[in-house]
Symmetry: C2
Subunit: 345 residues, 2 copies
DNA sequence: CTGAAAGCGCTTACAG
DNA sequence: CTGAAAGCGCTTACAG
């Protein structure tokens, strides 16, 4: 804490002069390096304290050739993270892990939907040692950013054929397990719903769904796969059409809990009962899924593990740029709640 | 974009050598400074592009004596921002403004509830030019951080008697207006509910409420002021006691929309109708308040203005550390929705 | 219009 | 256990 009156000292040189030791000794003291006599150490620390000395990070970074900073990108803009409950836990665990490893997290106001071909300034200015791409990203964007040559990973998203580390969850198996479960509950007409975003996680969930439909010899004509909707209202319009058809679905698998919760809400407003009329399964185990009435059956993703793995990956990549690429797909767990019941006969 | 095969060039010196010009000319080209012949400029730019040159920010920062980075703190930890819908819009506008001004936003995994006396590492390491304290902070924390002497502002929070710039919303007047409105609707028994956090915004809202109760000659005995609850369940227990008393409140003013929405939910589960049995007013105009059923009457805060003002304040403070302290309290607007009706007679 | 040179504050390998 | 010195990559005032 800076004492009243004294002017802040901003360089190690002045501290050294005041303390009567060399800048090397001050530096070593501050970084707990080398062998310093305890009383010298304390003397130097006192002086630093007294004059509110904060080391200049640029000097340190320049010399050490690293920033100890990792850039975080989210598509289309980092501010969108704040609108998404799902990422709260991931961000929490991510910050914790990076903090432990000595890294801070840099956000940028860059908006990819406005400037799709411009990279965020913190990249162009070399302020970060590496980048985490959180969530879904268009392929081109991942390619372009990766071409920069800066360490980069995808967290909760992936591009199988690119040379990019990633960690995501195994949505394929999760979808399979959901369908297995629904089939056990006598469901034969199951619909899958996801947004028309370019989203490899959604693709995986869809693929697992389709594979399971095939495996159980369900009718593909009766198990609709809705992937061309831009918002929940559009999704619901499609579902309503299906529900009013000759062969209505008895269960709906939504690509995430937000969609599931909103669909349940719309269904109820329209007079349908969940799960009596139709069962609904979600994904992600968001806070919302538990607040909903009925509580939504969903897929739990170990978000802490996801973040820990991602943190380790980006740090490994920064420290060893030539490491073989790491790809991880974490197992998931079905959470059974009240939005799923035996199929209406 | 780095071309295949060529090794990335990491210093302006090598670029200069390759281009056949001095580092001064390369630097000026990259920063659009001085007068460079257009063909020289293009030549240098081409070389940079070809070799994927990214300037070293530490070199630049060291020379220019600034980081172009602002630290963001949230209490008790920055990851908690992600749990709070209210801050989504503020963060969005804040990032936009800071980006425009050339600053990035640095987050830290620091957790004040675990280490209340330790400042975040980005501060100790001198990585930021200034700090934004977003939302409520304990007085001691503000004092300690401010004593560091680094430029600092409070955004959506304040400490009147400290020498700290701030911008917040005028919750005092908002509460007054709410009570004015409720009184017009014949309410005479109104309760105010807020958490027992150390939160100056909540204090202002409470003070405005109490002042208005006095102004309208309502009974302080019948207009309860609940400030000692730690969570919504506790709040509801108090409210239920009141509702079952001889003089039940006909309206409740909740310190924010999250609390309002949760209270409405609990009231309904207990068989009360909102607003028929009791009216509920919230604060902040969060997304939640509109999704609730009934939609919650609330107080709109111009979050974009809030963020813009905050961004300007911290930048002003960084550029002119000796500026007189700026204090702003933005006007608010009552939003009338369906959770408020004429008092039950 | 272009360049030579100083110097920002730090860490570290090395000498003693 | 301590210090002198080099050098990280950049911007800028100045000279020409």
């Amino acid at each position: 804490m800076l004492q009243n009156g004294s002017k802040r000292i901003t360089s190690i040189k002045e501290i050294a002069k005041l303390a009567g030791y060399s800048i090397a000794t001050v530096s070593n003291t501050l970084n707990d390096k080398g062998r310093i006599r305890p009383e010298v150490r304390q003397h130097i620390l006192d002086i630093c304290q007294k004059h509110g000395y904060i080391p200049n990070s640029a000097g340190r970074n320049l010399r050490r050739q690293k920033n100890e900073t990792i850039g975080l990108m989210f598509y289309p803009s980092s501010s969108a993270i704040f609108r998404n409950v799902y990422y709260a836990e991931i961000m929490e665990a991510l910050e914790f892990e990076l903090e432990r490893a000595g890294y801070d997290l840099l956000l940028s106001g860059h908006d990819s939907s406005i400037e799709p071909n411009v990279s965020p300034r913190f990249l162009r200015q070399g302020k970060v040692d590496g980048i985490i791409l959180l969530g879904r990203f268009p392929r081109k964007r991942v390619v372009d950013l990766n071409d920069y040559g800066i360490p980069l990973i995808q967290l909760d998203g992936f591009r199988e054929l690119l040379k990019v580390d990633y960690v995501t969850s195994d949505g394929y198996s999760a979808s399979e397990q959901i369908v297995d479960h629904l089939v056990k509950l006598k469901h034969r007409r199951i619909a899958f719903v996801a947004y028309n975003h370019e989203d490899t996680n959604a693709n995986q969930r869809e693929a697992g769904f389709l594979a399971a439909v095939g495996k159980h010899h369900l009718s593909f004509a009766e198990c609709k796969n809705i992937r061309d909707i831009g918002n929940t209202t559009e999704a619901y319009e499609m579902i309503k059409l299906m529900l009013e058809s000759e062969t209505p679905p008895t269960a709906i698998v939504a690509v995430n809990d937000t969609l599931a919760v909103e669909l349940v809400d719309l269904l109820q407003k329209d007079g349908y009962s969940v799960p009596q009329d139709v069962s609904v399964f979600g994904f992600n185990d968001d806070a919302d899924s538990k607040k909903s009435n009925p509580q939504i059956s969903t897929v739990r993703i170990d978000k802490i593990k996801l973040a820990q793995t991602g943190a380790k990956m980006i740090i490994d990549r920064i420290e060893s740029p030539d490491l073989p690429h790491q790809k991880a797909s974490l197992p998931t767990e079905l959470i059974h709640r009240d939005s799923v019941a035996i199929a209406k006969s």
